[in-house]
Symmetry: C2
Subunit: 365 residues, 2 copies
């Protein structure tokens, strides 16, 4: 295919199955992070869809999500035809979700090229991101490769997995594709520093591009049981049978990530390093990096009064929030709950969620 032809077959698959408790009290079972306006006035999934639309028209944008969230996804992405929202009967991690999307894409378009996009990440430079996706689509289609975007690390982060790259194998404009030497688990700080200094490691952002037919082949090779479960032609048949076929298929599927189940075992992976202001917005702390700050370093959304306060992240979605003489705090209000958290302890918000579960406070979860 020529360049314009590849782009005409490019589908975006937005992965919106996450439950995520790290944005409690704003995030709840019915309104997980991707359906919340955390980074801007738009929700994360609205931002993700808007980011891809200059490259992919609505009829080739897909969402994979769960039954609990499907209605809200449809409401937030009103431009989508309802049959572009693939509803898993139960979450089984990313490999089944991606496999299911590939089945649907191939039923409509055997030449489909598929970009997998998490619904809940922030991208500072959307133009650079789209340029990378377009280049990845061409390269993945032409060479029949699995392409993973690798985010150039800006700090020795110990919370992410890394991808170690090898020799350069292809070039599109100024973008260079590399062989993948290995996937590396979350490193300790010293190792992370070595990774950053060495220049060959990139963060694994969960953003992938491939021909739908290629990922189907790879799933057949590395996850044959999943491939068999998704082989039922009824899954993509119009009418009443699809939901029952889907429920039957998922009943026996094991939960496995595409990283662990396929990518770490595949022999046809390339990586495209990108530097596009990516942030996985993994906790409230990330807002300090992705939202504008006032001169005192505070990130403020909603009804708030700050006195003698520095480097705070405030999201007042319930009662007014007043801060006096504090530093490095995260303060989130909803009508039901208020979170006050040290800025470097945001990952421990899950401790509150666990305690509320223990107390049976489902009204707050």
């Amino acid at each position: 295919m020529r360049a314009t032809e590849v782009i005409d077959h490019l589908h975006a698959v937005i992965m919106a199955g996450g439950r995520g408790t790290r944005f409690w009290p704003l995030s709840t079972a019915k309104r997980p992070k991707q359906l919340l306006p955390i980074v801007s006035e738009r929700t994360m999934i609205q931002e993700t869809a808007a980011r891809i639309r200059p490259l992919v028209p609505p009829e080739r944008i897909w969402v994979v999500t769960g039954a609990e969230q499907a209605e809200e996804v449809a409401r937030q992405l009103a431009f989508l035809d309802r049959d572009r929202i693939l509803v898993e009967p139960v979450g089984r991690n990313t490999a089944p979700a991606i496999g299911l999307a590939a089945v649907h894409l191939l039923a409509r378009d055997p030449e489909a090229v598929m970009a997998v996009l998490p619904a809940d990440h922030a991208i500072g430079d959307a133009e650079a991101f789209r340029a990378a996706l377009a280049a990845a689509a061409h390269t993945a289609a032409e060479h029949r490769k699995i392409v993973t975007l690798g985010v150039t690390p800006s700090r020795p982060e110990t919370g992410y997995g890394y991808i170690e790259s090898g020799i350069a194998v292809a070039r599109v404009g100024e973008l260079t594709f590399h062989e993948v030497v290995a996937f590396r688990e979350k490193p300790d700080l010293e190792t992370a520093r070595r990774y950053v200094a060495g220049g060959r490691h990139a963060w694994n952002a969960g953003i992938f591009v491939w021909r739908a037919s290629v990922i189907r082949e790879e799933i057949a090779t590395h996850l044959p049981a999943l491939a068999r479960a998704l082989a039922d032609p009824a899954l993509v048949r119009d009418g009443g049978g699809a939901a029952a076929a889907l429920a039957a298929a998922y009943a026996g599927i094991e939960a496995v990530s595409i990283d662990y189940g396929v990518l770490e075992r595949s022999r046809r992976i390339w990586m495209l390093p990108v530097d596009c202001g990516w942030n996985d917005v993994g906790s409230w702390t990330a807002l300090y990096d992705v939202r504008p700050r006032d001169p005192a370093g505070n990130v403020i959304a909603g009804d708030a009064v700050l006195a003698d306060t520095r480097n705070a992240v405030v999201h007042a979605g319930g009662p007014l929030v007043a801060l006096v003489g504090v530093e490095d705090l995260i303060v989130i209000s909803t009508p039901e709950a208020v979170l006050v958290c040290a800025r470097d302890k945001a990952q421990d918000v899950r401790k509150v969620v666990l305690e509320l579960e223990r107390r049976g406070r489902t009204d707050l979860l």
Copy 2:
């Protein structure tokens, strides 16, 4: 009079005129500190009344307050006859309030002995406190003195005024009355340390005992204009005329404290040192001292979840409050507002109140 006779004439006058913004967001114009359950499940004024009742029967308990709070005072102290609640048409500091109470007491009982009690203080040892009041009543009645209780200082506090005592002049049981040498303004830290080490200085707690006739004489001597304004017999006449007479009297009265207007000038003051766990509960920080703490040093009231949190004061009166990884914070929630304040900055809560006034947010004040 003999001892039992003095006690039969002892009246308690609870001073409940304060506005106080230091307990925002719980305290508002309509619900100032004394009408809030800050130290226990009962409100401060309910605690104050309950503390005195073993010594003084309901018919001799009086409250001086403002029009905005009178209804709530009556509701909270339902055992009081309504005519025991003296309602000032406008606040003019403590001297007029005390003068007005003295006029009412003397109209009923020329032998009245009057204990003046702020409505919004905490007393750890109520029994010791009542014993001191009873001794002060006898001594004040017998010697026709102004007796001020002086709280034995437990720390070099720079936020209170001090009373310097001289020679011992009377003794009741183990309690010793002293001459007053001088009233001292709020000292600097070095001076406060010297006061505490010297053993002759006590905190001025605003708790006084005297014959009503004696304070009337002293007001006539030192504040003659106030004495004239309060001389109108219509003030204590039953029926419609009293309110109009009160409004007329207060129209020309200057605001002055009993300390500045009378006590600092009087030549008949004695002090009784007391050690009864007194705390003026001057700001949210005081809760750390007057309420029980959990093993991590946290003071918790209401619906709260704390993780890895130490020395926090939490008062959840609105949404649930969750704290993660923080120390030395005050967190107060109401349905309308949430305060998050450093424990050593509680006096700066007024900055929030001023900013809300500037923004016209009377809904929150």
